[in-house]
């Protein structure tokens, strides 16, 4: 079909007819990338460049001064930087693991098992896709206080791991797996849990990676938990420490360098994990539609 002029999805190589798309996408990408390039550049500026007038976008003589200051600033307040980092890593690892686990279990029951109230439950979950946690900060606090979770490590994790979007994505993904697979395993005497672990989990790995990424972003970047539900300074997370930098450094120019370093540290794990797993995410998203 040499005369076919329409859309060529996923072309295998570059052709000059694609130039018009590049002409639009590349400026947009630059606009999006500039602030991020700026953060990277700013984080490595020595103080004379931070104060320079007129300000320079790119760093000339990169140093690690800002990172060093960032580490020492933490210990001044009595809590070493490593403690915040440890808390963040611990909470994030536990949170991502639990989130993937409970979400996939629930998604399997929603997709393949039969029980009363299943439809209602999925409808409520779909409604909750529109849920904005920030709107119920206060009642959430009251609930957490009532349950007695204040100043408990778990409070940094538990409110975040039941993600309606995660359940939705995994359920849509499991819907695609053929029932015959499950039926034949049942004939061989496998229990539902065995089927889930041995057959379903390997198939839905891409969806699980996606849930992992989403919950990672949520937990790693969360400051609300440390701010509201935890009073003990030594239990708070890196994201919380970073969010207090503006007041700690008094919003000075030197402080901006430190904050840029902090932004970079909190951003890097997100982007690295996403780059590694992006193929799986795209695979999951193909099944993401609301039907």
């Amino acid at each position: 079909m040499a005369s076919f002029q329409g859309m060529k999805i996923n072309p295998s190589r570059y052709h000059k007819s694609q130039l018009k798309f590049y002409a639009f996408i590349i400026p947009m990408t630059l606009f999006v990338a500039l602030p991020i390039i700026f953060i990277i550049s700013h984080a490595f500026k020595p103080s004379n460049e931070l104060y320079a007038y007129p300000p320079k976008f790119f760093v000339r003589v990169p140093t690690f001064d800002n990172f060093r200051d960032l580490f020492f600033l933490a210990s001044e307040s009595g809590i070493p930087f490593s403690r915040y980092l440890f808390n963040s890593v611990l909470v994030t690892v536990i949170g991502v693991f639990l989130s993937v686990l409970i979400t996939s279990l629930a998604a399997y029951s929603m997709s393949k098992l039969k029980f009363k109230g299943k439809k209602v439950l999925f409808e409520i979950n779909n409604l909750a896709l529109m849920f904005v946690p920030i709107a119920v900060t206060i009642p959430r606090y009251l609930t957490i206080a009532k349950v007695g979770l204040i100043d408990n490590y778990l409070v940094l994790v538990l409110p975040l791991i039941a993600m309606p979007v995660g359940l939705f994505l995994v359920k849509q993904f499991i819907d695609q797996t053929p029932n015959e697979l499950i039926e034949s395993a049942k004939i061989d005497g496998a229990s539902e849990m065995q089927i889930f672990i041995k057959i379903i989990v390997p198939i839905i790995a891409p969806a699980l990676a996606t849930v992992g990424i989403l919950s990672f972003q949520l937990i790693w970047n969360d400051t609300l938990g440390s701010t509201l539900y935890v009073n003990d300074e030594s239990l708070k997370t890196l994201a919380f420490y970073f969010s207090t930098l503006a007041s700690r450094t008094g919003n000075t120019v030197a402080g901006q360098g430190i904050m840029a370093a902090a932004s970079l540290i909190s951003f890097l794990p997100n982007i690295i994990i996403f780059i590694i797993l992006q193929g799986k995410v795209m695979n999951t998203m193909a099944h993401s539609g609301i039907k």
């Binding site: 060529k8 279990l105 629930a106 529109m130 539902e192 849990m193 972003q217 780059i275 539609g289």
Partner: protein
């Protein structure tokens, strides 16, 4: 043990318990509290609809600033961000895989920077004195003579909030739409051209969008939610709640203002309920915009 785990309860209980505790119950409490006077110290006093009446008739800040701001913000950031996501996804689908992956990662990356710490970029770029990057640039090319107080001036705050939010609007919905477009069966296009499709616009509206309706819908819901989620940005940028002359005050900030600054939890809850209803109705409206539900 695992060999005998057959009951569905094994699977859904953990999720349902957490979902109920941290989503359902707080929403119910918000609704109940919204009918009370509650200052966090005394027990809540039932006062009926008084909070809502006060909110709709006597709260001048709400009517004059918060509600119009929220609508303005939502109706620009939501649709523009959504259309941008679709357009970029549509174009990305038509370039080779390697380039697409790199560009898509960059476009998605701002939505990973949700952390408050990222605010530093904007405070430096838009800083109000001549050392701010934008001010310095504009002064240099002679566009302005005096530095502009971008972040503390009521004239600019909303515009900057919108730009910053659009910057981060290529999120999960964008990825879903990209995947949706890539999954459309190419033979559909060829068949449509044989049947007399004439141009790219017809193609988009008759083939592309209908074939990926589920993803379009998912993207739309994510766009609506995302828009209301980033509401705190005005306070972050200007460094004050309330924002200067309420220029960047959105519903979310109004809740915080009454809940955590004035400790009027009942009243704040009423605002929360209004916010949830608003998001719900806008999502539903978007839903029906996409036509027939099957």
């Amino acid at each position: 043990m695992i060999r005998r785990m057959n009951h569905p309860a094994w699977f859904f209980t953990p999720y349902v318990v957490l979902f109920t505790t941290f989503i359902i119950i707080p929403v119910i409490i918000a609704i109940v509290l919204s009918f009370t006077y509650f200052n966090t110290i005394q027990t809540p006093d039932l006062i009926g609809l008084k909070n809502y009446i006060e909110l709709l008739t006597r709260d001048e800040v709400f009517m004059q600033y918060v509600l119009p701001n929220t609508f303005k913000f939502a109706f620009i950031v939501g649709p523009v961000g959504y259309m941008m996501s679709f357009l970029l996804a549509w174009m990305l689908a038509q370039i080779p895989h390697k380039h697409r992956t790199i560009l898509a990662i960059i476009l998605y990356s701002p939505s990973m920077t949700a952390g408050i710490a990222m605010g530093v970029i904007w405070t430096v770029l838009f800083s109000g004195d001549s050392t701010g990057y934008l001010n310095s640039l504009l002064l240099n090319i002679g566009f302005i003579e005096e530095p502009i107080q971008f972040l503390t001036s009521p004239d600019y705050l909303m515009t900057i909030m919108i730009i910053v939010s659009l910057w981060g609007s290529m999120g999960v919905g964008f990825l879903a739409m990209l995947a949706g477009i890539l999954n459309i069966d190419p033979s559909l296009y060829e068949a449509a051209y044989v049947d007399g499709l004439r141009n790219r616009w017809q193609e988009i509206f008759y083939i592309t969008i209908p074939s990926m309706k589920p993803q379009m819908l998912f993207g739309a819901v994510m766009a609506v939610v995302g828009t209301f989620q980033v509401g705190a940005i005005g306070v972050q940028l200007s460094g004050a709640n309330p924002t200067p002359q309420y220029a960047g005050q959105l519903l979310v900030n109004h809740i915080e203002d009454f809940g955590f600054i004035r400790y009027l939890m009942g009243y704040a809850s009423a605002i929360s309920v209004v916010l949830l209803i608003l998001i719900y109705s806008i999502s539903k409206a978007t839903w029906s915009l996409f036509g027939e539900r099957d």
